[in-house]
């Protein structure tokens, strides 16, 4: 249900980017979503399209990539990605890595005309 909030944040950001790249046109936004983000990409797409209708970002495509979540070791602070919760740190072996606080949805790039 919080997809609409995410779509709205994305829409506002897309508008600001669209104005920055003028006179070129914003065509697409490449997104990276971790598998624990709890987000339904179709719902974000739907919300984004609804908000964008009739604005300068109408027609901008969202391109999705799903990646494994990032974990941080509380002892050595090294990060690693894993599809399953790691049982120990691969770097120091001393502690159980924790899910990174936030980075479940990131914009990687934009495509402009």
């Amino acid at each position: 249900m919080h997809e609409l909030g995410v779509a709205s944040a994305l829409y506002e950001w897309a508008l600001s980017q669209s104005r920055q790249v003028e006179p070129r046109r914003l065509l697409s936004i490449e997104l990276e979503q971790d598998s624990l983000s709890g987000l339904n990409a179709d719902s974000v797409d739907f919300g984004f399209r609804a908000l964008a209708t009739g604005t300068e970002v109408e027609g901008v495509r969202l391109e999705w990539h799903e990646v494994s979540p990032t974990y941080v070791c509380p002892r050595c602070s090294e990060t690693s990605t894993s599809s399953a919760a790691p049982q120990g740190c691969l770097h120091c072996g001393g502690a159980v890595p924790r899910l990174a606080r936030t980075d479940s949805l990131r914009v990687l790039s934009i495509e402009v005309e």
Partner: protein, 217 residues
Amino acid sequence: MTRLAVEKKVLSKNDEFAALVRDRFRERGTVAINILGSPGSGKTSLVERTAAWTRGRVPAAALSGDQATDNDARRIREAGLPALQITTGNECHLNAERILAVLDAPEVRNARLLLIENVGNLICPAAYDLGEDAKVAVLSVPEGDDKPEKYPALFQRAELLVINKIDMLALTDFSVDRAVAHARSVAPHLDAVALSTRTGEGLTLWFQWIENRLART
């Protein structure tokens, strides 16, 4: 056509507010606990039970998030804890901006312990950092012991698993050991306590966990 690299978190606005909230908590020495779980898992009753324990021990307050009504804040106030209701309307989670907006309210300004009862939901609230010290996941016996594997994001982000309503164990196939095993399969770091907010059994473990968190800050 040109592709331009960006690298931006979509929820970064919330993260900025969360950092402000965290700074304020640090300045005040407030320990904030974000309590998450399904509707009906017993989040409010856990806060009610904690209200009695805090009396004479630690200045405490509560924030309660719901889509509608101030029922929970009223219940918590009746239990003796200053409490504010945050009504989220159509939103299914609390966000850091909403927390920041109430931090100077007289009910919460001087709290050393702040219990934040999030909107009942196992998915969305886990994605939002509220600037808290720790997230606590509440799972109740009638929900079934496999929920941690079905909703891993919440349990991975939590520090503590509270298994509530153990007074109902005899009525179900729920196994506390299995629930803890499921939770640790997705979140090996997780501490766990089993309790009943109705009978009071096991509550001392929860209070002990809070005392440890308070001692750390």
